[in-house]
């Protein structure tokens, strides 16, 4: 099973991966025959309608869900091992902050669990809170922050583990469009600064096209990849590129892919 890690070339290697689980209505094929290689520094978006398995795929990478067949390697090892090595940071749909902890103590939670020294915790939380523009909010409590700020805290918390891989499950899905635009820009800048590999689940076409180096379009029943669309916008792009013909063309291709993979008649 354990192929030698092809260091530097693949962060996530998925081949012919399937996942089925049984429900009261019988066996459900959540993922079928997924092939995907993710190289370091890429920003991958998984897009598709609800039920297409995009979150499930992310959870398989994070070892929160077990696949039933096929193969997956994260950093050259099994997802379970990768999780134990704390190879990734995971940002959930909701900020998932602890109300009884201050912003700083929320950020250092994973470090406490990993047994990182106090000084190091302090230093890292300062650094990553600065990176998400939250300097000065260290001693606030979550309820004193807006939804967008809370989600930035949770991004800082995922970053302070200093993983090479960042897994994000619709992190801005619950936010209003203006906040979302703002955070998209910040995330892009953060990705540029840190050079992390990002796997990003979304159901917003503009978000996916704006952020990604590759957009993976998925379709449901069973969850599979219908199109892989490279986007090579310059690294210092701004939200303005969303008005350009190139952007609209790619967005159109994503939309076509979503249409092809999913007939809405049966809904």
């Amino acid at each position: 099973m354990n192929r030698p890690a092809q260091s530097g070339s693949t962060v996530v290697r998925i081949s012919d991966l399937s996942l089925e689980f049984s429900t009261d209505d019988g066996l459900v094929q959540a993922l079928a025959g997924i092939d995907l290689d993710i190289t370091p520094g890429e920003f991958i978006s998984l897009i598709g309608p609800s039920g297409c398995g995009k979150t499930t795929l992310l959870r398989v990478i994070a070892d929160l869900e077990a696949h039933t067949s096929g193969e997956i390697l994260v950093n050259g090892v099994s997802p379970d091992e990768a999780r134990q090595n704390r190879a990734y940071g995971y940002v959930f749909q909701a900020p998932a902050l602890y109300p009884w902890r201050t912003v700083r103590r929320n950020v250092i939670l994973p470090l406490e669990i990993m047994g990182v020294s106090r000084d190091e915790r302090e230093a890292r939380s300062t650094r990553y809170l600065e990176l998400v523009n939250l300097t000065g909010f260290e001693n606030k409590y979550p309820w004193q922050l807006s939804g967008g700020m809370q989600q930035r805290v949770s991004i800082a918390r995922a970053l302070c583990v200093e993983p090479e891989l960042l897994l994000m499950d619709e992190p801005f899905g619950a936010l209003d469009e203006i906040t979302r635009d703002h955070l998209n820009q910040q995330l892009l800048e953060l990705w540029r600064k840190t050079g992390k590999t990002v796997v990003f689940v979304t159901h917003s076409i503009p978000e996916a096209v704006f952020l990604s180096t590759r957009v993976i379009v998925m379709s449901p029943r069973p969850g599979q990849v219908v199109d892989v669309i490279p986007c090579d916008f310059s690294k210092d792009r701004t939200l303005d590129i969303r008005e350009t013909p190139e952007f609209l063309e790619i967005a159109h291709r994503v939309r076509e892919g979503l249409k092809a993979g999913h007939s809405y008649d049966d809904d």
Binding site: L64, Y98, W100, R101, I113
Partner: protein
């Protein structure tokens, strides 16, 4: 400031309720004592009217239902006029009851929390323990109390502890129920998050499950503390005259001193009310901390 306003807001309604209860009590005293009195009037051929009946009903020596001021006088005699160390002082007896209920409350809470942890973490216990715990509460405590006292007494355990065991028996139940729910209250997402950190079960317990259970714990503790006083009083009944509010109740009923029973009852409810209030205060402080300093309504 808001607290103050709320207090003032509640003051008038509470006063109204208390006043009407006292009126009903006086009326009840006339009604319940009338049979005895009218009987006597007829025997002694006394002409009577409602005014005389009421006046007599409110100052009977052995009333069926004593009037509020009679109970008040009894309370003054036994609470204020006696030295606290005197065996005739209700404060002395309340102290005895209070100490065994507090010990029982602490033991019951510890037992309840321990059982809840077992139920949440060990699947076998989850399936096997709960029915027994529920069954334990269907046994009438009044039947069980003398047996516990006698059994523990026969192995040489006497005094405070056997009484506390009965308080504990009543206390642990709400704590188990509340804590099982509380320890299971974190959303699946938060548990998943802990898995992404490769947190151990111990770390998940102390950093997530335990803090999340605090609101549930306090809701249970409020029920438990009131039950612990009931348990202590019930436990004092079979020990007969060794002291405590339960013993006072028993003495009162032996000698037909209804007023004495009422006085003991009122002291018991004051003790319970104070304990519940104390837990409520602690709850407010704890929940405020748990919410990052944000005020909470309980």
């Amino acid at each position: 400031m808001i607290d103050r306003l709320r207090y003032q807001g509640a003051f008038l309604p509470v006063l109204t309720v208390v006043a009407s209860l006292i009126v009903i009590w006086y009326a009840g005293a006339v009604f319940l004592n009338s049979t005895q009195l009218i009987d006597r009037y007829q025997r002694q051929d006394i002409n009577w009217n409602l005014g005389r009946l009421a006046a007599d009903a409110w100052r009977m020596e052995r009333p069926v239902l004593p009037s509020p001021h009679q109970v008040g006088i009894e309370l003054k005699k036994t609470v204020l006029d006696k030295r606290v160390t005197s065996k005739r002082s209700l404060v002395y007896h309340a102290g005895i009851t209070l100490s065994s209920s507090l010990l029982g409350f602490v033991l019951g809470t510890l037992l309840g929390v321990a059982l809840a942890i077992g139920i949440v973490y060990v699947e076998t216990l989850d399936r096997s323990l709960m029915p027994w715990i529920i069954a334990s509460q269907t046994v009438p405590i009044l039947a069980l109390a003398p047996m516990i006292i006698v059994v523990l007494g026969s192995v040489g355990v006497t005094g405070l502890f056997p009484k506390s065991v009965i308080s504990m028996y009543l206390c642990f139940f709400p704590v188990v129920v509340g804590m099982v729910k509380g320890l299971r209250s974190p959303e699946p997402m938060l548990i998943d998050q802990m898995h992404t950190y490769s947190a151990s079960r111990m770390q998940i317990f102390f950093k997530l499950r335990l803090p999340s259970s605090i609101p549930f714990l306090f809701a249970s503790l409020k029920v438990a503390i009131a039950l612990s006083v009931v348990g202590a009083i019930v436990a004092e009944l079979p020990t007969g005259g060794q002291g405590g509010l339960g013993a006072r109740l028993l003495t009162g009923s032996y000698y037909g001193q209804i007023t004495m029973i009422w006085a003991a009852l009122i002291v018991a409810s004051i003790v319970s009310a104070l304990l519940v209030t104390a837990i409520g205060r602690a709850e407010r402080v704890a929940l405020r901390r748990l919410n990052g300093g944000q005020a909470v309504t309980v």
